[in-house]
């Protein structure tokens, strides 16, 4: 099963501590060598991005930063894992590193399974959830 991990935080963005960078680097290296992590990346501050929105049927482009955004996505990773249990165990380990190496940081690592055609017990695609 393919999973996406999305790390969000509502705190003002700050760079990871060197210790956290090192620990995450090691973990990423291990997960790549273990054949589980397929892709990952950190995202630049929202000030460098934009949102393309539809409101009341109108399309608009808004440059960042976005004052109303509460949770900001800091990074993502894509894993190929056996099941949800394994996905959660890996996320727990990842978040444990934050607790150890970046005291005071608060945030969420959301673990989401990819919707793949024909997947057993296939999850509802919730792309329509915001319609």
């Amino acid at each position: 099963m393919r999973f996406m991990y999305i790390v969000t935080s509502s705190q003002p963005p700050r760079p990871p501590t060197p210790a956290l960078m090192e620990a995450m680097g090691k973990l990423a290296d291990r997960e790549i060598k273990a054949g589980r992590m397929i892709d990952n990346g950190g995202l630049m501050p929202v000030a460098m991005g934009a949102q393309v929105r539809i409101t009341d049927g109108k399309l608009s482009v808004v440059d960042g930063p976005f004052v109303e955004t509460k949770e900001m996505i800091g990074g993502y990773a894509i894993f190929e894992l056996r099941d949800k249990e394994e996905a959660v165990a890996a996320a727990v380990e990842f978040m444990q590193l934050h607790r150890e190496h970046m005291p005071g940081w608060e945030g969420t690592c959301e673990v989401r399974a990819f919707a793949t055609a024909g997947a057993d017990g296939s999850c509802q695609v919730d792309a329509l959830a915001h319609s």
């Binding site: 054949g35 959660v88 165990a89 890996a90 024909g118």
Partner: protein, 419 residues
């Protein structure tokens, strides 16, 4: 959480920690099979303690501490008071006092240790079946029961296979080998063969059988990725990964709702996993950059890539596929490859040219009971308007087919009216 949930959670944590445990223990003990025993003991300890106490914050360190304690017990209790062991024991005691940074050093060269582990599990001295079982156990962290269910065999058979294989390794002095760099390519072929066996065992499994069978594809892909990251200069490792990714990309399209197989050319290509195809193409590209385009796996991957890149069956580049089959046939003499080449030639040049190849295979002993020979032949004869011969070929093929679904399909084809 139910007891089963807790069990699954523990196994999930275990699978994440297992490679590091086994590699660092093998390095300490200079004995891979013994390291494997101890990691299993650590798992049993976790299954005993964690349901009540919860998963510890540092599960890896917890498991390692248990395994080390057992290792010390083992060394003390054992008759093995050889100097090597005494030294190892002293090192370990010192290290244990110096915890918790036990794994810092290992993380830096886990690649080498992992390669040693993989080479040990897939040693050419062991049978292919034994290698497959050991690889799943030692590299993927599957339990004996899981491996048995995946291969549709009794637990005892797999347990015995593993015990025997480990004994063979120990008795042959292969418990802690360091393959030299020069041997890498040669030893790698023994590994790739096993990985592909594991993949195919899962890939050919029918839908609806135990879910652990398709799981074998997942594990094989994972080992494939491990190999390409720790032996990045080996083109065939990339070739095999490409072949597996590209084949696995069709999983969702391979059967219909009732589980009936759908042939590749009739599959709904919208169901092919493009993300996985991209990864397969990347791996194939890497194999080519390493000048491995002509390798056994890379050639097969290149053939599948032709299909993966055609957005409809009609757009398939058959001349290229038949050229690739010719290269493959020149590399490995196999009547099955030759039969596949005939199909591609039939699509590229027409049924006549293909039938020449197929007729050449008629007396091939390896294909005497192979129903697909008759099926391909029937198809070509029909296209040539030789309907009576086509019907006879399909009927003969139906009589040889191993499962009912294929028999039915071939009988239907025999009964098709001339078009």
């Amino acid at each position: 959480m139910t007891a089963t949930d807790i069990h699954r959670t523990i196994l999930a944590v275990w699978r994440i920690e297992q490679p590091r445990l086994i590699t660092s223990l093998s390095r300490m003990l200079r004995d891979v099979p013994l390291a494997e025993d101890l990691t299993q003991e650590a798992l049993l300890a976790a299954l005993e303690h964690w349901p009540a106490a919860g998963v510890p914050e540092q599960p890896g360190a917890w498991l390692m501490a248990i395994a080390k304690r057992r290792a010390l017990d083992h060394l003390r209790r054992g008759q093995m008071l050889a100097r090597k062991h005494a030294m190892v024991a002293r090192d370990m005691e010192r290290e244990q006092q110096a915890m918790p940074d036990w794994d810092a050093a290992l993380d830096d060269d886990i690649g080498d240790e992992l390669l040693r582990l993989i080479f040990t599990a897939c040693h050419p001295l062991l049978s292919r079946e034994a290698r497959a079982a050991l690889a799943l156990r030692m590299i993927c962290g599957l339990t004996t029961e899981e491996i048995a269910r995946a291969f549709l065999l009794p637990d005892a058979t797999i347990a015995q296979r593993i015990v025997r294989a480990k004994r063979t390794l120990s008795e042959s002095g292969l418990a802690y080998e360091t393959p030299r760099r020069g041997e890498l390519s040669e030893r790698l072929s023994s590994v790739l063969e096993v990985v592909y066996l594991i993949f195919n065992e899962g890939y050919t499994a029918a839908r609806g059988e135990h879910w652990l069978r398709p799981q074998l594809c997942h594990e094989a892909l994972r080992i494939g990725r491990v190999l390409t990251s720790i032996a990045p200069l080996e083109p065939e490792a990339h070739g095999l990964l490409a072949l597996m990714e590209l084949n696995a990309s069709r999983t969702a399209a391979r059967t219909d709702a009732s589980g009936e197989p759908i042939l590749m050319l009739e599959q709904n290509r919208a169901l092919w996993d493009q993300f996985q195809i991209r990864r397969g193409m990347q791996a194939l590209g890497r194999a080519r950059e390493l000048e491995g385009a002509g390798g056994f796996y890379a050639l097969q991957a290149a053939i599948i890539a032709c299909h993966a890149q055609a957005s409809t069956a009609d757009e398939t580049d058959w001349p290229r596929i038949s050229g690739l089959y010719a290269e493959l046939a020149a590399l490995v003499r196999s009547p099955i490859i030759e039969l596949n080449r005939a199909v591609a030639v039939g699509m590229a040049e027409g049924p006549e040219a293909a039938l020449v190849i197929v007729e050449g295979l008629a007396h091939e002993p390896a294909l005497r009971t192979y129903h697909l020979l008759g099926s391909v032949r029937g198809d070509l004869l029909r296209k040539l308007g030789r309907h009576a011969e086509a019907r006879a070929a399909f009927e003969a093929a139906a009589a040889l087919a191993g499962n009912k679904r294929e028999q039915d399909l071939l009988r239907r084809r025999a009964a098709e009216p001339p078009t």
